[in-house]
């Protein structure tokens, strides 16, 4: 099992609940906007605390309300690729890429800086500031930063939504390569049916 999730959280007057267990590869979390998909990612990353339930990834329990387990975000080993990239504006691309890498325990670093730069084609961008990047470039940096932090799994929140058609294709290929070559479990949030059908081996519908 990759992701085992059974949680609920109250957001305002709404209750968001999700329960699923996934196999390896990419699992799509699919549903209309506002269905609470991002809230589910936030709970897995430890950025939001579920009211109740349990979260485990790759057999490691990250949250269990009954057992009183609630790992801090920084030890969950999650590579969160945000919809809005969230690159650090006061650091260069290289500074962003190395940010998580510096803090990861040496034995948690499963991929080298040079490998990531090569894999994502970031060679020419290392000294650039994030605000000078195009959407596709920023998304590749965000993915690289997540990989280098020693992530054991990836959470991707609509990574293609703010890109034009060419860039979507480019990032889609990157994601397929991560799936096929790096074999990381990925939870992929989208509201685009075609995107989901192309990338994901498994689909969880939320409404």
């Amino acid at each position: 099992m990759s992701f085992e999730v059974d949680v609920s959280i109250t957001r305002g007057s709404r209750r968001i609940a999700a329960g699923f267990a996934t196999g390896p590869g990419i699992t799509a979390l699919f549903g209309r906007s506002g269905a609470g998909k991002t809230s589910v990612l936030d709970m897995i990353a430890g950025l939001a605390r579920p009211d109740e339930g349990r979260i485990a990834v790759g057999g490691r329990v990250l949250f269990d309300a009954e057992a009183g387990i609630d790992l801090r975000p920084e030890v969950r080993g999650c590579g969160y690729v945000f919809q809005d990239y969230r690159l650090f504006p006061h650091m260069s691309v290289e500074g962003n890429l190395r940010y998580g890498w510096r803090m990861a325990a040496p034995d948690a670093r499963w991929i080298a800086f040079e490998q990531v730069v090569e894999f994502l084609g970031l060679g020419g961008l290392l000294t650039a500031r994030p605000r000078r990047l195009s959407g596709g470039e920023a998304q590749r940096v965000a993915i690289g930063r997540a990989l280098l932090s020693g992530a054991r799994f990836l959470l991707m929140d609509e990574p293609l939504s703010s890109l034009d058609a060419d860039r979507r294709e480019e990032i889609m290929r990157v994601i397929e390569r991560i799936r096929d070559e790096l074999a990381l479990p990925i939870l992929y949030v989208s509201h685009d049916r075609r995107e989901v059908e192309r990338l994901a081996g498994q689909i969880v519908e939320m409404d």
Binding site: A45, G46, L47, R72, P73, E74, V75, R76, C78, G79, Y80, F82, D84, R86, F88, P89, H90, Y99, G100, M103, A104, R145, A146, S149, G150
Partner: protein
């Protein structure tokens, strides 16, 4: 030329130097307190937050003579804090340190405001991203929050410095107007105005005040702009 360096007497240089010393000390002393208060007001959720906000801003609206009188009660010769400071070998009564204390209290609201605005303009989503990348809350503060808020913190310091240079009412009430000890630029101008035939001194000191304050305000504004803060401190 009223402002040619050789027309400024040694006494006047002494006044300028004292003013800069008092303002610098006030700025340094206010910074940790101001930062802690700004943090609490920007990020804290606790009962009495509105009251704290009000208390911090009180020196901005109170008659300065009231602030000076309160300082006298707390830090004066009979005051609890005053006796404690004197016992610690840091007396403030009729000393330049007392002038710095008065300036510090008067500068606090402006500094807190600037730092608070800069902290509030830091994108919390970036902090969340840093947590998922393995940074502890302390590490997030040092590597993300502080660098992003830094221009605002510097702007707040400069603004506090400028406010201290202009401090008059609380100072003269609290530590009196003693040449060479508590007589900063505004107090010296006031003293010179009391005596006929001192117009030259008044003009020179007033122009110097305008110059110093303008430099400080422009510096603060430049820092604020660099940060792209939506709300300006001025």
């Amino acid at each position: 030329m009223a402002l040619a360096p050789n027309s400024i007497s040694p006494e006047e240089w002494g006044i300028i130097w004292l003013s800069l010393k008092v303002s610098a000390a006030a700025m340094v002393a206010t910074l940790p307190v101001g930062f802690a208060l700004a943090w609490a007001l920007a990020r804290g959720r606790f009962p009495g937050r509105v009251l704290l906000d009000g208390l911090v801003h009180l020196p901005l609206v109170l008659p300065p003579v009231v602030t000076g009188w309160m300082l006298l009660i707390v830090f004066g010769g009979q005051g609890v804090a005053g006796r404690w400071l004197a016992a610690m070998g840091m007396p403030v009564m009729f000393r330049w340190t007392g002038a710095a204390l008065a300036a510090s209290v008067m500068a606090l609201p402006l500094m807190v405001r600037a730092i608070r605005l800069s902290l509030e303009s830091v994108d919390r989503r970036l902090e969340a991203a840093a947590r998922t990348l393995g940074a502890s809350p302390m590490r997030v503060f040092v590597t993300i929050t502080l660098p992003l808020a830094l221009p605002g913190v510097l702007a707040g310091m400069v603004l506090g410095f400028a406010r201290s240079l202009g401090e008059f009412g609380a100072t003269i009430t609290f530590v009196s107007n003693i040449p060479g000890e508590t007589q900063t630029l505004p107090l010296a101008i006031y003293a010179a105005l009391q005596v006929p035939g001192q117009e030259g001194i008044v003009t020179r000191l007033a122009l110097i005040s305008v110059g110093l304050s303008l430099v400080a305000l422009v510096a603060s504004e430049v820092l604020t702009r660099r940060m792209g803060m939506r709300a300006h401190v001025l």
